[in-house]
Subunit: 361 residues, 2 copies
């Protein structure tokens, strides 16, 4: 590219305002990345003193069903993105008449519902865990007979960090499991014997350019991500498969922005766990492992700017700081690790307070 | 250090508020670094819509002689720092009764006045350009006769980016030079035949711990920094000398925070050009060359937190984007460089709009 290059058609100008639904740590780090590119940011988040508001130009402190606030928000920004996928459909309906939503509605409606998501993935020819639509005890019993146990009953909507999930170890637990999800529409997922989980953080621009980061290897406990390590232990050809699967999904959704794709590594190949239409906890390592991190990549994509260089220059192990992990802060500050804190006032059990990137050049 | 370590005595707690005098790009990048460590930030800056206000929690938009605003600012923050050294003494007098100022008054009063600074450096046994206190044409003529020409007449106070300086090529220009500085107290600096300029970015904690970054090599034009390159072409023993000089200055001033030290490399050794009691343009490369950048290092120091790892993991060439350099933005975004923009609305000749770090791992 020469010095006479121009920004792509439709690119946001310098100083435009990026709107973000959600004011948690992902919104916070998106705001910081947007500022690095000279953009202003506007957060929509019901909670006051939220992590993203500390580093944003504006904060609409209003509920997601406050139509006036949503309209004002949509009118005062140049593009709308989000840090979580469970945004009420009515809110999106209001916003879309006044601003561009990126990633678009297709990505959101697909990932908001586990059944829709699995049907979509299967339709692309990608493997998922065996799954079944569960509407009552009869359908659950039938699915358990087919898949065997253990299996996991998951609410179709509003699940995150292991919430909205019940593990079923024996078919006799079926009724109790249904009770635990309080009649919410569900899918049953059969057990996938996997050796590890990896995730691909991938970005797509409005013109269809795709950039993927090196897949990281994830370790969870209690349903919450604990560590992501790059490079993963997965052989190079399988890492390449993972990247191609991510690209296939991005293109099918005409996606704009960064997506997180979680994959199980099994003896017979890769199985999709789930997709997240946003920056992802398992991509935090990119902040210290790449020139362009996932947050800046997302901002570049939704602004219609050229995607950045996602080449990994260092080996990284990302570790989440959850609840009492904060007691380790003084020791971590004295190490050669990169510490990232979210500005949350109270330490609570299970609460993500920050993360650390341990780097080996 | 073990996992049972605690923060040093006097360290600011999680969520404390950092006050910063000045709302330009240095304040902006300090705010972002503070947020990464979970701190809130409060900017004091007379101009509205200033770069730092975009990423800060609070913005006192008031003049530096607004005593009420200064007192409110000082009372609402846990420590006060600054992004420029020419803060009116009266403002500091008001603030210091209500908050800790870091770096302290000694660093400020020394660096605010070129004559005081040069006397201080000479007193430490460090070499400076030959200099003389200039009060009138007689003292100027005498100094020019001693140093020869070319020489540079500099106002003792309020100089930056080449402002407040007049080059004197012949003794006959003495009267015109004095007229150009409009009777401001001045020093005359004799010519130093240097092969290049390097700068050391160094940090000191309240307990006296010192961390220095690898000295970078600077290229100026029209009195404004254009590029900084690490590693420099200067041999390792001289780089070590530079680091030791920085440490000597930090300790003598009982300095807390990050300092920039500019040095001329001459055939007979290193000569101090000037010191800046703050993060420095020539340290921007650390954002993409080190785990802990100069901005985070400054925040760690003034918060009384352990200093971070300043080891350089990559080779970097930092290039300022000044005025029309912004025309290169599309091409730069398409390269593998790291782009940092300051959110300034208008492109003006000579205005620092951003910078770019070109990285080789």
């Amino acid at each position: 590219m020469t010095d006479t290059a121009t920004l792509p058609a439709g690119a946001l100008p310098q100083g435009a305002t990026i709107g973000i639904l959600g004011g948690g740590q992902l919104g916070r780090m998106l705001s910081v990345a947007a500022s690095r590119l000279g953009f202003k940011t506007c957060i929509f988040e019901p909670a006051g003193d939220c992590p993203a508001s500390h580093v944003a130009n504006y904060h609409f402190k209003a509920a997601y069903d406050d139509a006036d606030a949503l309209l004002n928000f949509a009118r005062s920004v140049d593009v709308v993105s989000y840090e979580f996928e469970n945004i009420p459909t009515a809110a999106l309906d209001l916003i879309q008449d006044h601003s561009t939503i990126r990633p678009g509605r297709a990505a959101l409606s697909t990932s908001q519902d586990r059944l829709t998501e699995k049907n979509f993935l299967s339709g692309l020819g990608l493997r998922t865990a065996p799954y079944a639509d569960i509407t009552d005890l009869a359908s659950l019993t039938k699915a358990l007979e087919t898949f065997g146990t253990p299996a996991i009953l998951k609410t179709r909507r509003f699940g995150y960090d292991g919430k909205g999930q019940v593990r079923i170890n024996d078919i006799s637990e079926a009724a109790a499991a249904l009770e635990a999800v309080q009649g919410a529409p569900c899918v049953l997922e059969g057990f996938v014997p996997f050796s590890c989980e990896i995730s691909v953080i991938a970005a797509r621009s409005p013109s269809g350019e795709v950039v993927c980061y090196d897949p990281g290897e994830n370790v969870h406990s209690d349903g919450i991500l604990r560590t992501t390590t790059v490079p993963s232990t997965v052989p190079a050809p399988q890492r390449m498969d993972a990247v191609l699967m991510a690209a296939k999904i991005l293109n099918a959704l005409e996606y704009v922005g960064v997506m997180g794709l979680e994959l199980f590594v099994t003896p017979t190949g890769l199985v999709v766990n789930e997709i997240a239409p946003r920056v992802h906890n398992s991509g935090h390592w990119t902040q210290n492992g790449c020139t362009t991190c996932q947050f800046e990549q997302h901002i570049r994509a939704i602004a219609g700017w050229p995607l950045g260089d996602g080449t990994r220059h260092s080996d990284v192990r990302m570790e989440n700081l959850i609840g009492d992990d904060m007691d380790r802060l003084p020791a971590l500050l004295g190490s050669n690790a990169a510490v990232h804190l979210y500005g949350k006032a109270d330490v609570k059990t299970g609460r993500k307070m920050g993360h650390v990137n341990f780097i080996t050049p």
